[in-house]
Amino acid sequence: MKNIIYILIATLVIVSSCKNDDEGTIKTFGNVVLDFKNTINSNGIELTTDSYTNGSNEAYIISELKYIISNVVLIKANGEEFTYPVDRSYFLINEEVLESKKVNLSDISAGQYTKIRFGFGVDQSKYPLNGMANFIPTAEESGMLWSWSAGYKFLKFEGTYTANGAASADFLIHVGSHGTTLDNYKEITLELPSTLTIEESKSPEVAINVDIAKIFDGTNTHSLEVKNSIQVDAEFAPKIAENISTMFTATNVSN
């Protein structure tokens, strides 16, 4: 009779949890918010009003700033990884839209995480990635598809600039992959400043500072005088992509 009770209890647990893994131990899940803070000189960005100066002494005003984040993975101290389901792992960060900068991840396996890895752009080497195409409507509405090509713009960064007191001119920087010849997708791994604890019914946040000035001045220095329009540019787009891979830092974890 005791046996029966045990079986019944076990069954009830399985029935109610519905998230039994292979070993039969019961896993719990939690959420986290990734808070992308686009900054220049540690201050938030004011689109169309504030003027910034890049390393080439060019003053610029930003009118549009959007980029794609994808393939989020949380990593534990022992190297164990939790891969966020790829079909839900595409996010458009749009400076203009507050909610877009807070990326909500749900159903993450509970535990202690010390690192986070994500992609800048869309990893086309994995085409057809399951569910990847479901990001098309979002990308399309935000102008993140090239109009003549079947690919995503990973970064859309536009505005005006002046150099050496000259009249202001437009700048436009669009970075994506160039067919199969050049992949500007970047994988970025960040050390978290303190351990992130994922637990049921908690909502921790990870603040990620995105230093937008690095688009011009990262590993490489880009002067708008040299090139103010970068679209499918085999020379400059990869340099900008390299710069982008240095612009993210995890600055705070609040559990």
Binding site: I14, V15, P128, N134, S149, G179, D233
Partner: protein
């Protein structure tokens, strides 16, 4: 005790089911995807999107449905007409919504499962992504994915077809593109006279065709290679730039100067039907094409080295008779079964 175990098993069995499992799945048979024996392996990963009866039916319906365009009229099938191996034959460059003119000649759709990249310049690196271009292009269908999905959701037949065709039963862009691909990968054209000869199925070339085939092998097959009649590379075959379009070709995709004016070597299957020719449809007949190769070529930085000899002479020398023989051979690449195959027909 035994009874209890059964109850337990049943409970566990139903524990993790969600609502959609209550839907009784209809019979959705897998379609046979047969690789012709003289063909290479497909580049499309069939296992990731295996064509099924319902998926194919859905893909075909989408292909012929004007709802994919903003004007409700211009379907994929409007520009890709079966009688002409799915090209837009009466038009030099394609016409889209509101009569808007494109800048390129619609390509034939056949043997898509065997191609690595798509369009004249390789702007789509996967077949599932290709429809993004015509759907969103202002001069083609001028629609948005959200717009289309909304229209489809309002149609009970689509709701049912998506549910029948895909496990998650959802109307979304992933499933829509997969269905269109299922339709297109089934479009295999491999029943030409040439194929029957290559497969030893009893056909024979006429003397003229045989002579043309020999010439073709030495003069054309370096680019129009193998049984697909393309090496799938991008090359400049010496067409003068048309200032009206100033099409930079492959450079638009790669940004590389060395790719300027290069276009994908097209397959020559069904070439008799897919006139006019070249990326902008500038040549009307096969005679024009052969005359281009012998006498019409212009030099440029990116002209393919094969089309220029040591003395700097351009083109492929051919006599009038040789040209006719090559054309006779090219006509053995016409697949009547394919253009008449009702599986692919709108009605």
């Amino acid at each position: 005790m035994k009874l209890l175990s059964y109850i337990v098993i049943i409970l566990i069995g139903t524990a993790c089911s969600s609502d959609k499992d209550n839907y009784v799945p209809i019979e959705n048979a897998k379609l046979e995807f047969t690789i012709p024996s003289n063909f290479p392996d497909p580049t499309y990963d069939i296992a990731l999107n295996p064509p099924t009866e319902k998926g194919f039916e859905l893909g075909k319906k989408l292909f012929y449905d004007g709802r994919l365009a903003s004007d409700g009229v211009i379907s994929c099938g409007f520009c890709h007409i079966q009688d002409f191996a799915f090209t837009h034959h009466t038009h030099i460059v394609s016409h889209g919504v509101g009569g808007a003119l494109g800048t390129r000649n619609a390509q034939p759709l056949h043997n898509m499962a065997f191609m690595k990249e798509f369009t004249w310049d390789g702007a789509a690196i996967h077949l599932d992504l290709q429809p993004i271009i015509p759907i969103t292009a202002e001069v083609e269908m001028n629609e948005t994915f959200n717009g289309i999905l909304k229209k489809l959701e309002e149609q009970p037949e689509y709701v049912k077809l998506f549910a029948d065709a895909f496990e998650d039963q959802k109307i979304n862009s992933d499933n829509m593109l997969k269905a269109i691909s299922q339709f297109m990968i089934m479009m295999i054209s491999a029943n030409t006279k040439y194929d029957k000869i290559e497969r030893n199925e009893g056909s024979v070339f006429t003397a003229e065709e045989a002579a043309g085939f020999e010439l073709f092998k030495t003069k054309c097959a370096s680019c129009h290679k193998g049984t697909l009649f393309t090496d799938q590379s991008y090359r400049n075959n010496g067409l003068p730039i048309d200032p009206l379009y100033n099409d930079i070709g492959r450079k638009r995709v790669t940004g590389l100067t060395e790719d300027i004016q290069k276009f994908k070597v097209p397959s020559l299957r069904n070439i008799e039907l897919t006139f006019p020719y070249m990326h902008d449809g500038r040549l009307k007949t096969l005679d024009d094409v052969l005359n281009h190769y012998s006498d019409g070529m212009v030099d440029s930085e990116t002209l393919d080295p094969m089309l220029k000899d040591q003395t700097g002479a351009l083109g492929i020398p051919m006599t009038a008779e040789e040209k006719q023989q090559i054309i006779a051979f090219l006509k053995t690449l016409t697949d009547d079964d394919f253009v008449n195959d009702t599986r692919f027909s709108e009605f």
